[in-house]
């Protein structure tokens, strides 16, 4: 009873179909704003960032020191309430040189590309990385395994945000 499918729906529209106004489009913008409760663990993480510290949590069972800090260990599934300061330095686990902004518009010629990286933070358990940015480095010089250190905003400018660290720079 089965037969080989030969029918494929879907009507492709061209740029011209759109620009000529032949195809009707309804446009909409969400215009929504959000404010998120920081939660208990991240609240403390941000408060410490404001003071120029990176704080992590340690699970009493698996002994992992994790970042970002959390109120429960997702492996042992028990509450965590043991806070430890870690260093503001680390190692580049991986990085990118990104020429595209978040909305897919392009970084213009002459502008610096974004330099996101996963940085394994010294003092936390091996492999505990956070996503952040690199700075004060030529993109071509960046290497996986490079040691880096946080460059903090001046204390007066800090707001209790992950961006209180401007970026990490090679040391």
């Amino acid at each position: 009873m089965s037969e080989v499918v030969k029918v494929f729906g879907g009507t492709a529209l061209s740029e011209k179909d759109i620009s000529s106004g032949k195809i009707f489009l309804t446009k909409d913008s969400l215009d929504c704003a959000y404010a998120w409760d920081t939660g208990v663990a991240i609240n403390r993480y941000l408060a410490e960032l404001k003071k120029g510290n990176i704080i992590a949590t340690r699970c009493r069972k698996c002994k992992r020191i994790v970042l970002p800090p959390r109120l429960f260990c997702e492996l042992c599934f028990i509450p965590v309430n043991d806070w430890v300061y870690v260093h503001d330095s680390g190692v580049i686990n991986t990085f990118s040189i990104c020429h595209v902004h978040w909305d897919a518009s392009r970084v213009k010629a002459g502008e610096d590309p974004h330099l996101p990286a996963v940085i394994e933070i010294d003092g936390a358990s091996p492999g505990m990385g956070i996503m952040h940015l690199l700075g004060e480095v030529k993109p071509a010089k960046i290497k996986i395994g490079m040691k880096v250190k946080a460059v903090w905003r001046p204390e007066a400018e800090r707001t209790g945000s992950i961006t209180d660290i401007k970026y990490f720079k090679p040391i």
């Binding site: 009507t11 529209l13 195809i23 009707f24 489009l25 309804t26 446009k27 909409d28 913008s29 969400l30 215009d31 929504c32 704003a33 959000y34 404010a35 998120w36 409760d37 920081t38 208990v40 609240n43 403390r44 941000l46 109120l71 429960f72 509450p79 965590v80 309430n81 909305d103 209790g160 945000s161 961006t163």
Partner: protein, 160 residues
């Protein structure tokens, strides 16, 4: 603070404001195969079309390319001009804007029954105290040169 402790005063709870001014993303929707044709008829000819599934004896308004009951495709031959008149199936009087502020003047929104379909639209030329379920209404189209091929090509429905 441990997992069993609670914030009891709202003021103690910190929140994070993303800093990015809003989230400037937009949507641009096609009307679809049926919608394109449906709005072309409204824009060019001021006519409202439905599509009829003969098997289920149902006439969908706005017209669709398939019957949701039996999943038959509804084609050209199944399109029917359902006229520009309907009846108020249900209505509401709206006193607030979508962000919750008081409107200067309340507006009337109705589900207008045409054939077996319901069109959600505004009621116009109509006093709130006069509206009732079952009231016959008629589409008031925008002048042809102002129509753009969208639901707003109908200004509102009005009693007649």
């Amino acid at each position: 603070m441990g997992i069993l402790q609670r914030i009891t005063r709202n003021i103690d709870n910190r929140y994070w404001d993303p800093g990015l001014i809003g989230f400037p993303v937009k949507n641009s929707y096609t009307a679809g195969v049926a919608g394109q044709r449906f709005f072309e008829e409204i824009k060019e000819n001021g006519r409202i079309f439905g599509s009829k599934c003969a098997g289920c004896d149902l006439t969908y308004v706005p017209a669709r390319i398939y019957c949701e009951r039996c999943l038959s495709g509804l084609e050209e031959k199944d399109w029917v001009d359902v006229g520009d008149e309907g009846t108020v199936y249900a209505y509401t009087e709206v006193h607030q804007t979508k962000s919750g502020e008081a409107k200067e003047k309340p507006s009337l929104i109705a589900a207008v029954k045409i054939a077996d379909g319901l069109l959600i639209h505004r009621l116009g030329d109509c006093l709130p105290e006069a509206v009732h379920i079952g009231m016959p209404v008629k589409a008031e189209f925008k002048p042809k040169n102002e129509r753009q091929g969208g639901i707003e090509d109908i200004k509102y429905f009005k009693p007649f």
